[in-house]
């Protein structure tokens, strides 16, 4: 019976090929970036940015409906989502340095305000409201080739930035005050880091869904931090956990007919168990 199910799965490769590849890329990207998100204590930034990218989509749809401007092409909609997310990421990146209020207050305000504007905006939509959920949160079971290519492009760009500027991004994140005293323009380096987050979140949310993206920006890094005591290992492990949880979650959800995103999240959480039990030094 298992043999038959596996054969059926392989025979359906045209259905799952793009979604599975997208899940692997998104899992790796979110797992890696999550190390910065967790260590910088900005886990709710991903939730706020997802809301902002939703707001971008709403803006695109409202423009389409009210002005008759053509926004149906997925690239145009994603462009709006990216613009809102990137702008929000850069603003939040700057706000995290404020001294008057804790950083969480800015992130929380952004999240609820963007959420409220999404509700108000969706209320104005006549035709496209029913498509909004799928546009924002995607459907890990069916990812169009265009979405996959955009996701791969964003992942490659993020990988290059983080490979070339690894030491600067780590230094500014770990001890921004000393970096500034040594002459680093910490605001610009923080902006670069948050730019990669702002780019990654809308495209991975379209591929995986908002809940898995939030989870993958938190759980793999947390699990890796519990298991490893060297930063390089933590980055590698978090990326690997993201990949395995995304791929494993996809397969499990396929065979047991479970919701894909939620299965991925539960699988990612299982990786935190050995770390919590073993505890690194």
């Amino acid at each position: 019976m298992i043999h038959t199910a596996w054969q059926d799965f392989l025979a359906a490769h045209e259905i799952w090929r793009e979604p599975l590849i997208a899940s692997l890329i998104a899992g790796a990207l979110c797992g890696f970036l999550g190390v910065y998100v967790v260590l910088r204590r900005t886990v709710f930034v991903s939730a706020a940015l997802t809301q902002l990218s939703t707001l971008g989509l709403i803006a695109a749809l409202i423009l389409e409906e009210s002005l008759g401007v053509e926004m149906e092409h997925v690239g145009v909609q994603l462009l709006f989502a990216l613009a809102f997310s990137v702008a929000g990421a850069l603003l939040l990146g700057m706000a995290l340095h404020g001294r008057r209020l804790p950083a969480e207050s800015g992130v929380g305000t952004t999240y609820v305000l963007a959420g409220a504007l999404v509700v108000l905006g969706a209320n104005r939509l006549v035709h496209a409201a029913h498509d909004l959920n799928a546009m924002v949160f995607g459907n890990a079971v069916a990812v169009p080739l265009t979405d996959l290519l955009i996701l791969a492009g964003v992942a490659l760009a993020c990988a290059i930035v983080h490979a070339v500027f690894a030491k600067e991004l780590v230094f500014v994140s770990f001890d921004g005050e000393t970096a500034a005293a040594l002459g680093y323009r910490t605001g610009r380096w923080n902006a670069l880091l948050f730019l990669t987050l702002g780019l990654a979140i809308p495209v991975t949310a379209r591929a995986l869904g908002a809940l898995p993206v939030f989870a993958f920006l938190t759980i793999p890094a947390a699990a890796a931090l519990l298991l490893a005591s060297r930063l390089r290992t933590v980055f590698a492990l978090a990326t690997a956990i993201g990949v395995v949880a995304a791929a494993g979650g996809y397969l499990v959800s396929w065979f047991w007919q479970l919701p894909t995103g939620a299965t991925m999240v539960v699988l990612a959480a299982l990786f935190a168990v050995p770390g919590a039990l073993l505890r690194r030094r």
Binding site: K167, F174, E177, A181, G183
Partner: protein, 256 residues
């Protein structure tokens, strides 16, 4: 300050603070090559703000900051400002002091690792190089941060409460390292401390700061360690005693 020497850093009639909140106004201060300046005052008195403004981390809210040429700076922040959550070893923290020398996008090499080993040895924690920073004691972390500053081949060492959390012996060792480096010639040291006694045997100049009193006074060590100057800073009589070649500074007990 060496008479007639050109400053490497200066504040001219500067106001310092955060945002629009001015803590102190009218500050004029010059640091020259080979200087050893200690900025002393009570906690929350504005010392760190002055240091940050001097280094260019904070912009002056009025007046000007001068830095005639690019400087290699080694910086030791207050220990609590460094996030011990990061999974970095002592050597990985110390090598960050080399990053400015390396330039953007380049990785540390053998020469940098040798410089880090030498810096860790200089502060007496070479054997801790591969241990996680988070597992080190407060004093050991502080030494790691000093080693990071030393590894930077700095022309100016700026230290913010560098001996906080150290036991007295470790504090003396750390201060002796700074003195030896300074005596090597050319290196300027600017150090913030709320403990006058920690710097009274090492600094050449003192800067007394207390924003609550609007106090900002700079002068040679001998001129500043007087009952009048100390009394202005602490608001009570403070005695200075020399014993065995070392100065001891302590507040006098009020007569009952």
């Amino acid at each position: 300050m060496m008479a007639g020497a050109a400053p490497i850093l200066a504040l001219d009639d500067a106001a310092v603070g955060y945002g629009r909140e001015v803590l102190l106004r009218g500050l004029t201060l010059e640091v020259t090559a080979g200087d050893f300046l200690a900025i002393v005052g009570p906690n929350g008195g504005g010392k760190t703000t002055i240091l940050r403004t001097l280094l260019g981390v904070l912009p002056p809210l009025a007046g000007a900051r001068r830095q005639p040429r690019p400087l290699r700076v080694g910086y030791v922040p207050q220990r609590d400002h460094v996030d011990a959550y990061w999974p970095l070893t002592a050597a990985e923290v110390a090598v960050m002091g080399r990053y400015r020398l390396l330039g953007t996008g380049r990785r540390p090499g053998e020469r940098d690792r040798a410089a880090v080993s030498a810096a860790l040895a200089r502060v007496g924690i070479e054997e801790l190089a591969d241990l996680p920073f988070r597992t080190l004691s407060g004093g050991q972390r502080q030494r790691t941060l000093i080693a990071r500053a030393l590894a930077s081949e700095a022309e100016l060492l700026a230290l913010d409460e560098p001996t906080n959390g150290m036991d007295p012996a470790a504090e003396l060792d750390a201060m002796d390292v700074l003195r030896d480096l300074h005596r090597g010639g050319g290196l300027a040291v600017v150090m913030v401390s709320h403990r006058l006694e920690a710097v009274a045997n090492y600094a050449r100049r003192l800067c007394f700061v207390d924003k609550d009193q609007g106090l900002f006074r700079v002068g040679p060590l001998e001129a500043m360690l007087t009952p009048d100057a100390l009394g202005a800073l602490y608001g009570r009589r403070v005695a200075v005693r020399e014993e065995g070649g070392r100065r001891f500074v302590y507040p006098e007990t009020e007569a009952r």
